[in-house]
Symmetry: C2
Subunit: 204 residues, 2 copies
Amino acid sequence: MSDVEFWYEFASTYSYPAALRAEEAAAPMGLQIRWRPFLLGPIFHDLGWSTSPFNLQPAKGAYMWRDLERTCAALGVAFTRPDPFPQNGLLAARMALALPDGDARGAFSRAVYTRQFAHGADISDPQTLAEVLEETGQDAGAVTAQAQTPPIKDALKAAPAQAQSYGIFGAPTWRTSDGELFWGNDRLEDALGWQWGLNGVQTL
Amino acid sequence: MSDVEFWYEFASTYSYPAALRAEEAAAPMGLQIRWRPFLLGPIFHDLGWSTSPFNLQPAKGAYMWRDLERTCAALGVAFTRPDPFPQNGLLAARMALALPDGDARGAFSRAVYTRQFAHGADISDPQTLAEVLEETGQDAGAVTAQAQTPPIKDALKAAPAQAQSYGIFGAPTWRTSDGELFWGNDRLEDALGWQWGLNGVQTL
């Protein structure tokens, strides 16, 4: 009961700093992060949106890019605006699901975000993703093959509906063990504090 | 140059805790808040929206109400969900503009938010607003009359376009003296810190 679920989509901008920060922030509180990749496309589609709301609402998009730049500067990590945006994170998400939840999935996911948002790489490119797998200690061929199997494809296909059933509408979203949701990179600490409180109550 | 502009709309949910917190957070840093009431309706209209995005996107709306409840609990202030939502804040915004920026406008604005979000009052009701004026030490008759004059009406009518020219797309938005924007109640501290840094540079 000491886990906080991290629901993330590889194209999601604020999921980049969120992914980099999550485990380091959780560890001192004795909390673990569960890595829950999903896709926002089907959720946006249900709202009648064909692309990111940051593209549909130019003023909000311009703000987000500037805010993300500030956020990354404060965090001391590089930032490059991906082009095109949003990127297609389907294969990356399948690979993440093909890796065991924990260190392997976390390291891979962080590295995909860094490729995209620090180095401007195209994360729909299988070669780029193979490099990320290798650099995070995985067997790129084996993981790529497993990512294309029906159980993985089906798991990712089911993820958006599961997210919606929890009330999730965007990324990053933190979900505590009692089902509370905290939306946004800047709500990580609130989510960890909430889970910490729950755990304290349970062990009294 | 030690001011932070607080752009707020009376129907905006997160502007309620923002309005209550702003001056208390700014004072220890020697910063002042400039109260800039505006209307989101025309900005939403430009996006093709007929109501609040929290109504247009039910999952996001449900999250917001729960999150606002948590935010108010953490702040130690009462919370009642307004019905209907969003409220019509036109008259309240005109009255705010009819009051001098500073203590008078701040006290009135905080009291309007408290009526709406703590007590569930209808803030389009002139009688409710007259009571708020009286309880914050104003001459309700005089302010109500001034609120209906062309200069005040024109000033409020011009406010959304001015906000848009700054890149503002929602409320609350904090704007520092160099034009940086910080969107959301939870970005108040970031905005104050940014302005504090600017002032420090200027006085060196």
